[in-house]
Symmetry: C2
Subunit: 354 residues, 2 copies
């Protein structure tokens, strides 16, 4: 507390990212990073721009990266917005499309940042309760609102909603913007991108931090009707003219272009996820059906917090949320097959010693 | 305009960065970049982190960079905040220390972004009028306020206020935060950093885009009392956990560490500035006394807009502001000696053909 902080700073509860302890080398299954390295083409592209031109500002319009994304997703360039990670894209979206007057809606169990943004920008919001199986009840979103944000697949559950059901929601909700946060869509889900030309109120948000293995470079993007994109640019250009540096722009462009590698690693992760799911179920875990690069699991005999701590003691980091309804669950990022084998072995030992 | 934008987006006038035309190669003296390349050590440090670890998030606490800055400026680590360019640091400062209830104060002619931030965050503000010689009248800031921001040296004038006068302002203004924006202080000014332990309400903001030649990598920082820094971190962690990517963190750390190169290039730019100032004065220009890496000039016989356009036709970009009181001035970034020689020659020809 300080007398120099304004009321918002005093009251807000900032987001807490997954821990990054430096005391020893962990198998890191706690922040949904990709276990595979970035595309070699992206590495090469970044190496190529480490030169004297770094004295110059980056392109504020990010035109080359935007053009690459437009080609990849079959949209027009003015239907693409890029930002410093999808977190920044989401924050700017809250600043652009939502206002105090009307309540925005999002699931009670979902990405914690939605609530933080709502508090930060002093928005009214309603947490729509997931059902007992952690499904998002779309019908509960079909009421007067000032905006909707739904992660698909949801985090931390990994549960996925098919595009038909989402289209239906967007169609009956024409008066406000519906944001579909697709941070994890590339691991088996189907993107809503193909519908942005049908709905002027649909904004799709994606990131290069997961399926493109570039969490270290901070690039995310939004796809939607050109008016929505123009609004986002108005806010961005009122905060920071250059949010993505020269190296990140180059790496992101090359990563988007490398479809072959993208297909290879996302397939691998999906396979590993299905194998790990089966193995954990055999050990008595309840594992939610996931279309993401993580799984959400609980065991009736082993307490979630205890499992989290035991795994940490054994050199494996997973994510534990000390929150109502999910405080007996763990969110486990899908690593390489080897990493998941170690995880399974450690869990077996922990369960045997209960 | 879109029915999906909120009122703020509809009303705001975003900042417009200096033009970056791609039609031909220009001598670029319009965005206050450094004409010299980044430190070789920074280049090397960035090359060294282009590797598979880019799949992992950056350190959200930026601890190594912060530690380097703390050593360089002789402050504690909890007195340092880093962000995605000083623009982001400034935006977060507005979000942290200012509120609607009390008017904030800044000069009428100064960095345009202050006004944009005020509009974006719906703050009340008063533009304090510079005197006829473009001096900032500090006495006019000595009244009830909700915060003060002063660029020193000022942009686009380049004029500098000595630390004694600023200390006096901060001392009589204990109830609100005084931000000194020192983007250009390394070109002959004296930083207020040495006083942050004396004043709990002083925040000093700097950038690596100018004196460190890293505009392309987007890193800025703030120095101040630990309570101010904690407030900034609360806002940052409510917007985006990781605003600086791995490559930028590494490059910035190495650049801060390379004092020798920093001293060499800032000295060169100061010398070039003094030479160019003398030459332009000989050509009949009024050149304001500058402590920045740019000069603010006007010529009684040649109209500012005409000069800007003529120089652009001749392959040289300078900055022209179509604004009350300064619409007959040009802001010229200090380039290399060679670049400035070309500028002077072109100007001579333009003046001769009047």
């Amino acid at each position: 507390m300080s007398k120099y902080w304004n009321e918002t700073v005093n009251n807000i509860e900032p987001y807490i990212p997954g821990e990054q302890p430096k005391d020893k080398k962990y198998i890191k299954l706690n922040t949904n990073e990709n276990p595979y390295p970035p595309s070699k083409k992206a590495i090469e592209a970044m190496e190529n721009v480490i030169n004297d031109d770094l004295k110059l500002y980056p392109d504020p319009t990010c035109s080359e990266l935007i053009s690459e994304i437009a080609v990849k997703y079959g949209v027009d360039e003015d239907e693409v917005f890029v930002g410093n990670g999808s977190d920044e894209v989401l924050a700017f979206s809250f600043m652009t499309f939502f206002s105090r007057e009307k309540r925005i809606l999002f699931p009670d169990i979902s990405y914690t940042f939605y609530k933080v943004y709502s508090e930060l920008f002093k928005l009214n919001y309603e947490l729509v309760k997931l059902d007992d199986d952690f499904n998002i009840p779309l019908d509960e979103f079909k009421k007067s609102n000032g905006g909707i944000i739904i992660p698909n697949p949801n985090a931390p559950t990994g549960k996925y909603i098919d595009t038909e059901n989402l289209r239906n929601l967007i169609e009956v909700n024409k008066e406000s913007v519906v944001i579909i946060d697709e941070a994890y869509v590339d691991f088996g889900g189907e993107s809503m991108v193909k519908f942005i030309k049908d709905y002027q109120n649909l904004l799709v948000v994606q990131t290069l931090s997961k399926s493109r293995s570039l969490a270290g470079m901070r690039v995310g993007f939004a796809l939607g009707h050109r008016d929505l994109i123009e609004g986002l640019n108005r806010i961005k250009n009122s905060m920071n003219s250059y949010t993505i540096d020269r190296v990140a722009l180059a790496g992101a462009k090359a990563a988007i272009n490398d479809n072959e590698y993208f297909n290879e690693i996302t397939k691998k992760i999906i396979n590993t996820r299905e194998n790990s799911t089966n193995q954990l179920r055999e050990l008595g875990f309840k594992v939610l059906e996931s279309k993401a690069n993580f799984i959400f699991v609980t065991h009736e005999k082993a307490n979630g917090k205890f499992l989290y701590e035991s795994l940490k003691d054994n050199g494996i980091l997973v994510r534990y949320f000390n929150k109502d309804r999910i405080d007996n669950y763990l969110r486990i990022t899908i690593g390489t097959d080897n990493e998941m084998d170690v995880l399974i072995e450690k869990i077996k030992t922990i369960l045997e010693n209960l």
